[in-house]
């Protein structure tokens, strides 16, 4: 057991970094699992929103249900996107300083403002979409729930045709503004890495674009997946006037509709993401600048399995093929979507951890050992269980949100 005093002497990053050959003494893996989670979660937020906007802006009528759901889920993902950062900061209580004295030459400061803008847009759009529902509930329910709904109406009880029309108009405008903001949001996350000239793996102008593409991929995949699950869960509820078989058939049809409609968008962004990543790799190998020596060791030897087998193979190529093959079943889709989500996670891992797998000396390596069993608070929040907490929270929030907004689809014999 390490004593309290000895704990004080451990440099942040030392607990999970193993160094090989020549590494500067102060170098450790400082951006660990939570910094992998951060772009992953913000990517899910952006992707979910883009999917929802496909209905609101481009009027894809068949997407209405999944789009409404995506919007609500996007809202649950929002606060969770800040969680990894708060867990990573050495001084989490000072996190608000980004709003007090933002230094906009830093991509992180600008990101804070962009993210807040985006949060405001999503929250506003949800308000406009659900305003009538809030009013109905405020007027029909009493007690605590009624009070919550009253607050949510923001004092507006107008249910006239004009008012509803305004709601619809505003939701469309916000969805339209939201798409470039969502793209900007994730482009910025990519910029945070791509602009670090000190890191030979991260520095590339392609980074923001790669991040956007894979963010949309993850968002679409997650929404498709969760929506299919939501539909499945809806089978457990009572549906007056419908037999179990009828409910099952309705659910299956709806699930297949969603899959067929959205999978083509998934394909577009999957292809875009992998094209850019391969382009980056090929360019690096061709131009072979000073860092190529160490990078080729890391990318083509040490991390070969993580990049080519897990990320490109299992996470990209395999689900692509699975979704393309004829006679697509829902089970096959669910597996494929899980693989896509895993692939996007591996992309974040390979960028963040991979970029810290080699030393600034270009003559040494660092290996990341993800803390599994926590030995203190730091190895909990920057370890496996910290990451698990982050990934579980949006679903918990979704369950909470379901008390206020109907998230699980209801069926009726219409």
């Amino acid at each position: 057991m390490i004593s309290e005093a000895a704990h004080e002497l451990i440099i942040h990053g030392e607990a999970w970094t193993e160094k090989f050959q020549f590494v500067y003494p102060n170098e450790f893996i400082v951006w660990s699992i939570q910094i992998v989670m951060y772009p992953y979660m913000t990517g899910l937020v952006a992707g979910a929103f883009v999917l929802s906007s496909l209905y609101h802006v481009f009027g894809q009528k068949q997407l209405k249900n999944v789009a409404t759901f995506s919007l609500a889920f996007s809202f649950c993902l929002l606060p969770v996107a800040m969680m990894p950062l708060q867990l990573h900061l050495q001084q989490p209580l000072r996190g608000m300083e980004v709003f007090f004295t933002p230094h906009f030459t830093s991509a992180i400061a600008a990101f804070g403002i962009v993210f807040s803008t985006y949060g405001a847009i999503v929250a506003s759009e949800i308000w406009f979409v659900y305003r009538k529902f809030f009013i109905d509930q405020a007027q029909s329910q009493g007690g605590l729930r009624g009070f919550i709904y009253k607050v949510l109406t923001l004092g507006s009880y107008d249910k006239s045709e004009e008012a509803l029309h305004t709601d619809h108009r505003m939701a469309t405008i916000l969805a339209a503004i939201g798409i470039p903001v969502a793209a900007f949001l994730h482009g910025y996350a990519g910029f945070i890495f791509g602009s670090v000239k000190a890191n030979a793996l991260w520095m590339t102008p392609l980074m923001p674009v790669i991040f956007i593409m894979s963010a949309v991929v993850s968002g679409i995949a997650l929404c498709m997946l969760v929506y299919i699950i939501m539909l499945e869960i809806s089978r457990m509820y009572k549906h007056p006037g419908l037999s179990n078989l009828q409910v099952k058939e309705t659910v299956r049809t709806q699930q297949m509709d969603v899959i067929m409609m959205t999978k083509r968008y998934l394909f577009i962004f999957l292809v875009a993401a992998i094209t850019l990543e391969l382009l980056d790799l090929i360019f690096r190998g061709y131009t072979a600048v000073k860092s190529w020596g160490i990078l080729s060791e890391v990318l083509l030897k040490h991390d070969f399995v993580k990049i080519f087998v897990l990320q490109y193979g299992l996470g990209n190529l395999l689900p692509f093929v699975m979704l393309l093959l004829p006679r697509l079943t829902i089970k096959r889709t669910v597996v494929a979507l899980c693989l896509v989500l895993y692939g996007v996670f591996m992309m974040r891992w390979n960028v963040v951890i991979g970029g810290q797998s080699f030393s600034l000396t270009f003559a040494g390596f660092m290996q990341y050992h993800l803390p599994f069993i926590p030995t203190n608070f730091e190895t909990f929040k920057e370890g496996f269980f910290g990451a698990l907490t982050v990934i579980a929270t949006p679903f918990f929030l979704l369950w909470l949100l379901n008390f206020i907004i109907p998230v699980i689809p209801k069926h009726s014999n219409q």
Partner: protein
């Protein structure tokens, strides 16, 4: 024409359309109020180096100039009282070595000695001498100029490899006792 219709639509939107905006303004106002309490704008600013490199709280420069205590003192401070050791040292091959290299005490401000700190530390460990005198490859470096080199594991004989160098050597005179 379309532009006018658009403006017309915006202006004719029902008033409730602006409520989320009001909430947003309230949140921003709250942030600004808290900011005014937390930051002194007199101090925080772009300063001499401009916004890119000079964005900071000016008061912090005062901390780094005056608030941080000087602890390590060079040997001219020790000369004031320890004149005998000083004379010996200055006549030896070790004359360029700073007293604090062996006599520094972690956490102690040298200037507090002798009023508040009666004794400074003395690091007599073998490792201290081996820093310069260990026989390691040094071709082409300044270390090659140090003539007296030993193999730490076997000097003066293998059984003595834990002993302190000062048992036989006078450090200040840089000679054999």
């Amino acid at each position: 024409m379309k532009y006018l219709v658009f403006c017309d639509n915006i202006l004719n939107m029902k008033a409730h359309a602006y409520r989320p905006l009001l909430v947003l303004i309230a949140v921003v106002a709250l942030i600004l109020v808290v900011r005014a309490m937390v930051i002194s704008d007199k101090d925080f600013g772009a300063h001499e180096k401009g916004y890119r490199f000079g964005w900071h709280d000016k008061q912090n420069e005062e901390f780094w100039k005056d608030g941080f205590k000087v602890k390590y003192l060079d040997k001219s401070f020790c000369q004031n009282c320890h004149t005998d050791k000083w004379d010996t040292l200055m006549g030896s091959a070790h004359k360029n070595i700073s007293c604090q290299n062996c006599h520094a005490k972690e956490g102690v401000v040298a200037a507090d000695h002798p009023e508040k700190v009666e004794k400074m530390a003395i690091d007599r460990s073998r490792g201290q001498c081996l820093r310069c005198h260990a026989d390691i490859p040094d071709v082409g470096s300044g270390r090659a100029l140090i003539t007296k080199k030993v193999d730490g594991a076997s000097h003066p004989w293998p059984e003595a490899k834990e002993s302190e160098c000062v048992e036989c050597h006078d450090v200040h005179a840089a000679t054999f006792k």
